[in-house]
């Protein structure tokens, strides 16, 4: 124990070297930039900088990759808040409340809330990295096909949460998302479904494309339709960007909750930051004392989403480093980087290579501070974007959407897909359906389908496999609670009101 503490301390000392500090600041800034540009994902940024890190000391190289990862996950919130375009899918839920805040002239506050929440989520997830790695790694090993199926069902209960107006329409949107998610190669039989011969659709509709189309492009269509006569002179722009003590106190429970959600989802390969941000948002809403704010600009909503997606970063490192199972796409690239340096994930990293690993962990912690500093400073600057007139903003957004969707895979077909989803998103708005629910269905569909079909295939069609482990039952209980708690809590509140009146 003492030895480990000694290693941790040594890690911090090494991490504070000038080279590493420079690496941290530069990579975090670069990460934030990559994150706020729609279509450029964190994984892409990490992959781009991988060759640069080959010549570096392994710890420094890893710190660079970690900085980009954390910066990008935060950076996505910038464009989500300012122009209703999640820079990365991980900030999709942030766009819901964040953009409303911008319309009220509170862009600066929204950005600083996002920055602060991201910092807390990331920093707290480092705690689990240091102290709970073996435990969480073991938990990751317990998630097999049936458990993933129940996880996706729980995820779908979030749809009720994000449907502020009509639950029925929210469910319809969710089912639409599920239907769209069936496009592509059948995972169990290898049959082409709804692909119309397009190789691009082999892995289904790309989530980032759909997201850019549904959230951003549709916004462009709607604004263009209004002919931009009455601009959002909605509210006078407020430059206040700090957080008052009271607000921080109010946000702490949300941030803590989102940290736990994000950290645990992070350790599950395939779950990822996107699901975490929606879950964090939903739980923030479920437990909020100011529910009426949701839908019209709630800082708790922004904090809930952003704390969760940054908590994923620390969590996803755990299975990557201990078991060699990447938590999600960015950590897969990181693992590739480790392997090239000759470092195999596993117990060796904590014994033979412990000094390097702990330097990396310390660097990861310090990166959060770099992100806080750069983010808060950047909030001042970026918030000014919300003051731009629509005639400048709209063409810029269109350019970002097109370039962003092309940049994912250098594939023009995906730009077309993005436009199609833009039209779908426009119709969604017109019919008061729910774009976030569609995205949720799109992401959770494959997870749920793979989980269910593989489970049934493994058990020869016996559905009891879905109820076979304690973890399954825990998830089932979570689902039931998730579905019924709004109803129960609603009745409870009504009774309280009746009592008081």
């Amino acid at each position: 124990m003492l030895e480990t503490l000694g290693l941790m301390g040594a890690g911090f000392i090494h991490a504070l070297s000038p080279m590493n500090l420079l690496a941290m600041v530069a990579s975090t800034a670069l990460g934030i930039t990559i994150g706020c540009l729609p279509g450029l994902s964190a994984a892409m940024g990490v992959a781009l900088l991988l060759p640069v890190t080959f010549g570096m000391d392994p710890a420094t190289g890893l710190i660079v990759l970690g900085g980009i990862y954390c910066g990008a996950i935060f950076g996505g919130s910038i464009s989500a808040i300012l122009i209703h375009t999640p820079g990365t899918p991980a900030s999709a839920a942030t766009a819901i409340e964040g953009y409303q805040l911008t319309l009220k002239g509170q862009a600066a506050k929204a950005l600083s809330v996002a920055c602060y929440a991201s910092f807390c989520g990331g920093l707290l997830s480092c705690i689990s990295l240091y102290f709970f790695s073996p435990l969480l790694a073991e938990l990751a090993m317990q998630f097999k096909s049936p458990e993933y199926f129940w996880l996706s069902i729980f995820g779908l209960t979030i749809i009720a949460g994000v449907s502020s107006r009509s639950i029925l329409k929210g469910l319809m949107s969710g089912i639409l998302g599920l239907l769209i998610s069936t496009i592509g190669m059948d995972p169990m039989e290898g049959v082409e479904r709804f692909m119309f011969g397009q190789s691009t659709l082999y892995n289904g509709v790309n989530t980032t494309c759909a997201l850019i189309g549904l959230f951003s492009m549709s916004q462009v269509f709607i604004l263009a339709e209004k002919k931009i006569i009455e601009r959002a002179k909605a509210a006078k722009f407020k430059m206040q960007y700090g957080l008052s003590r009271q607000e921080i106190k109010r946000l702490m429970p949300t941030i803590t909750r989102s940290w736990l959600i994000g950290n645990i989802l992070g350790i599950l390969p395939g779950a990822g930051a996107t699901i975490a941000c929606f879950m964090g948002y939903n739980e923030a809403r479920r437990f909020s004392k100011h529910k009426e704010e949701f839908g019209t600009g709630s800082i708790e909503g922004v904090a809930g989403s952003e704390a969760a997606n940054n908590a994923v970063t620390g969590g996803s490192l755990i299975p990557t480093l201990t078991l060699g199972i990447p938590g999600e796409s960015v950590t897969a690239v990181l693992m590739g980087g480790l392997i090239i340096h000759g470092l195999q994930p596993g117990p060796e990293l904590f014994s033979t290579y412990a000094p390097m690993t702990y330097t990396f962990f310390a660097g990861f912690v310090l990166v959060q501070f770099a992100m806080l500093g750069i983010g808060l400073w950047g909030s001042k600057v970026f918030a000014q974007i919300s003051r731009l007139s629509d005639s400048i903003l709209i063409p810029s957004i269109v350019v970002l959407c097109v370039v962003g969707s092309y940049a994912i895979h250098n594939n023009f077909v995906e730009v077309i897909i993005m436009f199609i989803f833009g039209v779908i998103g426009y119709l969604v708005r017109k019919f008061d359906l729910n774009a976030a629910a569609i995205v949720l269905g799109l992401i959770l569909g494959p997870i749920g389908e793979n989980g269910l079909r593989r489970s049934l295939y493994l058990s020869d069609g016996d559905p009891m496999i879905l109820f076979s482990t304690p973890l399954c039952w825990m998830l089932i209980i979570l689902c039931v609670v998730g579905i019924f708690s709004p109803i129960i809590m609603g009745r409870f509140e009504k009774r309280m009101l009746d009592k008081n009146s």
């Binding site: 090993m141 097999k144 590739g336 493994l458």
Partner: protein
């Protein structure tokens, strides 16, 4: 006067253009799999080492999707001007090219060199009761629903399992997962009973103090140097040929001969360099250089394999 100078310049340029070709710009390297995958990791390592010899940057262009189809279609469609090369996986490339209506054919690429070779092995969990190939076959004969995880329907590891099963006369359940990482995770979690993977994927899981997995057999004509106790499938009376995947460097067909020669010679130098060999060993990758002619023969052999064997396999 101008005319004289101009014609002098043209006269000078003609012999100069007959000099050996060298790249004047950065080179685009197409990798048909996503960043962080096995192929990508190997490609990045080689490209970064090769930059020292070529003097220009090799930019890795990840074009994932459709099991490689998207990237390879773009590769064969690229201009054969010497500034685009790419990595292919065998047998996947030849299998896909042999299918009806394939967007590319093996004739549309020109071989440069083979980079890595990964031999397939059969693995079970270290705590499994099965400790030999014969044990596995007996267990499968008793229970025809033994589960084997694969990296996808008819993907390379599924083919390996089929080759083994057909040669041993057993039935089993092939459960597809999204890729090698997922399939091995399923095995480690105990969701399936056995799996076929490449030696590099399992190397660290079968060695050390507490190995998680155990290798039962290897798809090769002779035993592996690193695992002399593991029998080949052929020894035990099952599939006797080599099977595995090869990662090779190719260029779009139509590239001028001197450009191809440049790459062939350069990569021969790169892969013979002791530092490069050491870097591959450190990363656990099995460097097996084959020159362009040998690679061409390998591609032809894989084509034959795809036509004759794989078509009857499933």
């Amino acid at each position: 006067m101008k005319k004289v100078l101009l014609s002098l310049a043209v006269a000078m340029a003609l012999p100069l253009s007959a000099q050996a070709w060298t790249p004047q710009n950065d080179i685009n390297v197409i990798v048909a799999y996503k960043a962080g995958s096995g192929t990508d990791t190997g490609a990045r390592l080689l490209s970064s080492q090769a930059e020292k010899f070529i003097g220009k940057t090799l930019i890795i262009n990840n074009l994932p999707g459709a099991d490689g189809k998207i990237g390879w279609t773009r590769l064969v469609q690229a201009k054969p001007d010497g500034y685009t090369i790419g990595f292919i996986n065998l047998p996947t490339f030849t299998t896909l090219a042999a299918q009806k209506g394939a967007p590319f054919k093996t004739a549309q690429i020109v071989p440069i060199a083979n980079h890595l070779t990964e031999t397939s092995v059969i693995v079970v969990r270290a705590d499994s009761k099965i400790d030999s190939l014969k044990g596995l076959v007996d267990a499968a004969k008793a229970n025809s629903k033994m589960r084997c995880s694969t990296n996808g329907v008819k993907a390379s590891n599924h083919t390996a399992a089929q080759l083994f099963a057909k040669s041993a006369g057993i039935q089993y359940k092939a459960v597809p997962y999204g890729g090698t990482a997922d399939q091995l995770l399923a095995l480690r979690q105990g969701e399936v009973d056995f799996s076929c993977a490449k030696i590099a994927d399992v190397a660290k899981l079968v060695t050390g103090d507490k190995p998680e997995l155990r290798i039962l057999g290897v798809f090769d004509k002779q035993r592996l140097k690193e695992f002399p106790n593991v029998p080949t499938l052929g020894e035990m009376g099952y599939y006797g040929e080599w099977y595995g995947s090869a990662r090779a460097l190719v260029a779009p067909a139509g590239m001028p001969a001197d450009v191809v020669k440049y790459y062939v010679d350069t990569f021969k130098k790169v892969m013979s360099d002791p530092e490069v060999i050491k870097a591959h060993q450190t990363a656990g990758l099995n460097l097996e250089y084959k020159n362009d002619k040998e690679l061409g023969e390998l591609i032809k052999a894989q084509e034959k394999f795809a036509r004759d064997v794989i078509s009857t396999l499933y």
